[in-house]
Each structure stands twice: as C-alpha cells, then as structure tokens.
C-alpha cells in the first residue's frame, strides 16, 4: 500500500522541478541577452574616458562618475553650440505633449463619428484615413515642406506639431474607431431620445468608457513623436530641433576623441521619457489593446 502511494508522488515532482528549472534558465538567458546593450550603455556612461580606453567593454566601472551625464545634459557640443541636450530635450517636451494631446482628441472625435454616426461615405473616409497610415514618411517630406512654408510655420515647433498631428490622425482614428465600433449603437439612440446632442453624448457616455484606448493611443503617439527623427531633422532649424536630432549631432559632430561615455548618457537621457511612459501606463496598454480587439 505504501508503494502505491509513494511511487507517483516521488517521480512526478522531480520531473516537474527539472522542467521548471530549465524553463527559468532559458528565460533568464533571453533576459540577459536583451539587457546586455542596456548594461553596456549604463556602465559605459558611468565610466571615465580613461577607464573606457583601458578597460573592457563589459566590465563594471571601477570608479563611478556622473561627469558624462552632466556633460550630456548641459555641456556637450552639437556643432558649434555646447549646451548639451537640455534645450533640445525641452523642445521635444514642448513638441510632443501638444502633438499627442491634439492628435488623440481629434482621433477620438473621428472614431466616434465614424463608428457611431454612420453618415454617407463614412466607410470611404475611414478607408482613406487608414490608407494614410501606410504612406511612407519620405513621400510626404517635400509637399509638407512646401505646405509649412506657405503656412509660415517652416522651421518652427508649431510646424512640427502640425506635421505630427496630421500624420498621427490616421492611427489615432483607427484606434478609437475600432474601440467605439464595439459599443452598441442603441446607446447613442437612447441618449438621443434622452435629449443629448452630439458632444454631450461623446462627453458623458463615450469618453468615460475610453480610458483603456486613450492610454493605448497616448503611448503609441508619444513613442512615435518622441522617437521621430526624420520629420525632426527635415522641418526644424537650429534652436527648434528635437532631442533625437540633437543626439545625432552630439554623436556625429564631435571631432578628435570620441566621448563614448557622453554619447551613452545622452542616448539614455533621450530614451528615458518613452521608458517612463511604458512603466507608468504599460499595464493599461495591454489591457486596452485586448479590450479593443476581443470584445467585438
């Protein structure tokens, strides 16, 4: 009788534990692999130039110094000026926040109209907006430059905001439309009978439902706009460049000894805001993506 009880309980946990251990080992290996570049960036940014030259790439810093970070932030040279990333970082903030907000609001209204107020030609307009998502950046550069010139916005931050809003509307409309299409049409009918108008229904009924998709849209748009390089380099001039362009200038325009520690610190600084947005709103991101697609 003891045999009967002991045998299965003895063999099973060992096999299970072994499998588990293998699984974790494999996952750990992948994690290490993906974290390696970040590790190199962080450690290099904390080393002095002297140590970088003499030490190994993957070694821990012998002496931690934040000198490179200070230089990257406020002293590194982008061509002739040597103000570091700071002014450009603020350019990006001033650029990204309105661009994200405006494109999200316009996308929400567009999606609401296309999904819930089916007017003649709504599907055609939606198809065209969708088509806009697939137009390569390069194609719009020249016409856009001409447009900005005509509007008197060439080389300004409002001009860049305009470009990002226009380019983002296709995506934000797609997100909101697909989310709102899963909401029954009877809701709008009921509100109409209750006496509510177009904006009242949007504000009181649809917006409170939209948190997950707003988070998705904000993350998407913020990442796109913050990380954009092509529009930034094409439509800005000295003084209005976003952080990505400044980073490029810091890395590529140094003469003489390459300051790897400064380059690494600058790259991390430029990437921090998007990282922050993911950490803060990441769980809503997954939730919002599935809420939009599964519910319908």
């Amino acid at each position: 009788m003891t045999d009967l009880v002991i045998n299965p309980t003895q063999s099973r946990p060992w096999g299970k534990i072994l499998l588990r251990a293998l699984l974790f080992a494999l996952l750990g290996l992948f994690a290490l692999f993906y974290l390696m570049p970040l590790f190199v960036m962080v450690t290099t940014s904390l080393k002095s130039l002297e140590e970088i030259r003499t030490g190994s790439l993957i070694a821990f810093p012998r002496e931690i110094t934040f000198e490179a970070w200070r230089t990257a932030w406020s002293g590194a040279c982008t061509g002739i000026q040597c103000e570091g990333l700071r002014p450009y970082f603020w350019n990006s903030v001033v650029l990204a926040i309105p661009a994200v907000l405006i494109s999200t609001v316009v996308g929400a209204l567009n999606g609401y109209v296309i999904a819930q107020w089916r007017f003649r030609g709504a599907n055609l307009i939606f198809s065209l907006l969708l088509f806009g998502c697939f137009i390569p950046f390069q194609v719009v550069l020249l016409p856009m430059a001409r447009m900005l010139g005509l509007m008197g916005l060439a080389g300004t931050i409002p001009g860049l905001i305009f470009v990002h809003v226009i380019y983002g509307i296709g995506f934000t409309t797609l997100f909101f439309r697909n989310y709102y299409v899963t909401i029954p049409q009877e809701l709008v009918k009921a509100a109409k009978v209750d006496g509510a108008g177009f904006f009242r229904i949007f504000w009181s009924i649809f917006l409170p439902l939209s948190l997950p998709i707003i988070v998705v849209t904000v993350i998407w748009q913020f990442t796109q706009i913050w990380n954009d390089f092509l529009f930034g380099v094409s439509f800005s001039q000295a003084g209005t460049q976003p952080v990505t362009v400044a980073l490029n200038n810091i890395v590529n325009s140094t003469t003489g000894v390459k300051e790897y520690n400064v380059d690494m610190a600058a790259a991390i600084i430029a990437a921090l805001p998007t990282l922050l947005v993911y950490v803060v709103a990441g769980k809503y991101f997954i939730r919002g993506l599935t809420a939009g697609s599964v519910k319908g």
């Binding site: 009921a190 509100a191 209750d194 009924i205």
Partner: protein, 365 residues
C-alpha cells in the same frame, strides 16, 4: 378623441430597397399598440421612425396632434426602451434614470423626487448606486423602464424589451408591463416577434410582413378572423390548421370536402358559409377541433379520424391527424383516450372556421 399617434402613408426606403410601404396606423390615448411580425419585416424600423431615429421617405407622423415628421427625437415627447436596454455603462442606476432630466436642465430637487417615485414604483430603490454591469438581466430591464417612466412622455416605445430574458422572467416582466400600462393609463407602442406577447399585451395589433401591414385589429379580431393566410399561420401556437378543401353548394349549405389518404374524403356541411370558389383553404384553430362529445352546437360536425401522434402537454393533449395532405392538430382534454394509430371521433366547430383563397391567401368569409 384625437388620436395620440397618427401615421399616414408612411414609406421608408434604404436606397432602392423599400423597407416600409404605405403604413397607416392611428391609436387613441391609453392604447397598447403591438407591432408584430417575423424578423426583417420592418417592425423595429417603424418604431425607430416613430421615435425619429430614422428619417422617413414619405408620409407623416403626428404625435399628440402635432406634426412630428421632421422633429428630432428629443422633442417628440417620447421615451424608449431598447432590446439591449442601452444603459449608460459608466453611470450609476440613479444617474442613468436622471440623465435625460439633467440634459434638459430639470432642477436637482425635481430630479430627486421623480427618481424616488420611479424607483419605488419599480422596486429598484436598493439598486440606485450600482452600475449596470452589476445588475442581473431582469434588474437592467427595470432600470431601462425606469429611465422611460421618469420622463412621463406622451408615448412609450418598446423595442423587443423582453427578448434577452429567460423564459420565466419574460412571463413575469410581461405581466409587469401590462400592470404598468393599466396603472399609468399610458399609451405604448411595443415591438415583438413573439405572438404570445402580442396577444397578451395589446389592445391593438399590427401584423407586418415584408414592410406591408397585413392586418390591424384587436387581439380577438386578429386571432379569430385573420385577414389572410400569413396572419392565420403567424398568430397562435400551435398554428391554425390550414387544410386544402373543395367547396360545393348544396340545398342547405355548402359541402366541404377534404381528401384523405387511402380513405373516403371527409365531408363537412357548413350552413353559414358564404359563396365560396371551388378550391378553398379551410382554417380551424386546434381548439376548434375537439373530441366528439365535448363540444356541442349546431355547427359542430363529427368525423372519425386516424390519429397519428399524441402529444400530452400537461393541461392539454395535442393529437395530430392527416387531412387534405396536411398535418392537422387538435387540442383535446388532458384525459383524452386518444391513442396513436387508432381512430377517434373528432368534432369540428365550423362556427369558428375561416376560409381563404388558395392563390391570394385572402380571407373569404
């Protein structure tokens, strides 16, 4: 009294497709109008047209004596209950009920008083702070009705409000709607595909098929004197027996001859029948075919019929026979001695008979 809802020559097209054709309906205050028909017959579209949620192609709609044909839904003095209830998901029950008043700028004290009134009426006081997602189907139904009741409109519109409930709850809510109608004396328009709901609730029924009105009348009229084969077949469960027959006038009345497989034809004599063409379709409800001896009267005719199937249903027993090439169902007492495969004398009550023309389907008597 002036009709409270008056629809004249209403047409509704979606592009080239005609959804509703020449609808004419009028109801008095306090009426309970039921629009009934199979799915896709246009009944919900008609309701949406009355509500103003769908523009109409031609015709007029008057509500309370005013021309509302081109008035927006919020100004039509109507309230509507939807099939999916359409409760606002992020608002509490109380906010759902008062949303309409809030939009219209009713003061807070009146809102609160009306809310309490309606909550008491529907017994949902303890639910007022919950969200719709935390309610059961029956509770959501009540809240949806509350949202309509609080408006105190000229016209209540119901779009299949019970079709999402389970069978037991549906019967309960049906009774409750009927009670509400009686207590409030309100005028209601109600869409359903369920003919039992139509029969139990309505004071007036409109039967629709393919966007065309088939018959308008009281439940009794629709049930006893269906205007055509479609109405006869659609209203009533089990459906009316529609038996092909041949009519021959003789001295005292009309002989109705129904062929039977491998047997002499069944011959009935109707002394009250009007002039009939030779080929007719005879319509008799299952309850108008009884076991001989249980039904008496001048126009009751007896005949031996072969019973093919016996289906006890508790209160009644249905037996199925074969006449004129059709299955014929009779509703008998629960204690019937009928046995399948044996003959049974059946009594046909010809005072309740309907005759239809086989081609056009129109009623002949």
């Amino acid at each position: 009294m002036a009709p409270i809802l008056d629809i004249k020559n209403l047409y509704k097209n979606y592009g080239p497709v005609e959804i509703l054709k020449d609808i004419n309906v009028a109801i008095e205050p306090g009426d309970f109008l039921v629009l009934v028909g199979p799915s896709g017959c246009g009944k919900s579209t008609l309701l949406n047209c009355i509500a103003g949620l769908e523009p109409i192609t031609d015709g007029t709609i008057h509500i309370g004596g005013r021309d509302m044909t081109h008035v927006s839904p919020k100004d039509r003095d109507i309230a509507m209950v939807f099939q999916s209830y359409a409760l606002y998901p992020t608002m509490s029950v109380a906010k759902n009920i008062t949303f309409g008043m809030k939009v219209r700028g009713v003061d807070a004290a009146t809102q609160e008083r009306k809310l309490q009134e309606v909550a008491g009426q529907l017994q949902i006081e303890q639910l007022l702070h919950r969200r719709p997602g935390q309610l059961s189907g029956g509770q959501r139904q009540r809240v949806a009705m509350g949202r309509a009741l609080v408006r105190d409109p000229k016209l209540f519109l119901f779009d299949e409000p019970l079709s999402n409930l389970d069978a037991k709850l549906r019967v309960e809510m049906r009774t409750e709607i009927k009670k509400l109608h009686q207590n409030l004396g309100a005028t209601m328009v109600y869409v359903t595909h369920d003919q039992i709901e139509a029969m139990t609730l309505a004071t007036k029924i409109v039967v629709l098929k393919g966007g065309i009105v088939q018959q308008i009348g009281s439940p009794a009229e629709i049930y006893n004197r269906p205007a055509n084969l479609f109405v006869a077949d659609f209203m009533g469960s089990p459906a009316m027996n529609l038996i092909p027959a041949r009519a021959k006038p003789n001295g005292t009345g009309t002989q109705i001859e129904i062929s039977r497989d491998g047997e002499a034809p069944l011959v009935l004599t109707d002394t009250q029948a009007p002039d009939l063409p030779e080929d007719v379709i005879l319509g008799l409800r299952p309850e108008d075919i009884a076991e001989a001896g249980f039904r008496a009267g001048e126009s009751v005719q007896k005949a031996e019929c072969l019973i093919e199937m016996v289906e006890p249903a508790g209160a009644d027993t249905f037996v199925v026979s074969h006449l004129g090439g059709k299955q014929v169902t009779a509703r008998l007492h629960a204690e019937t001695s009928a046995q399948s495969g044996k003959t049974l004398p059946l009594a046909f009550d010809l005072s309740k008979v309907s005759y239809f023309a086989p081609e056009s389907g129109d009623r002949l008597n």
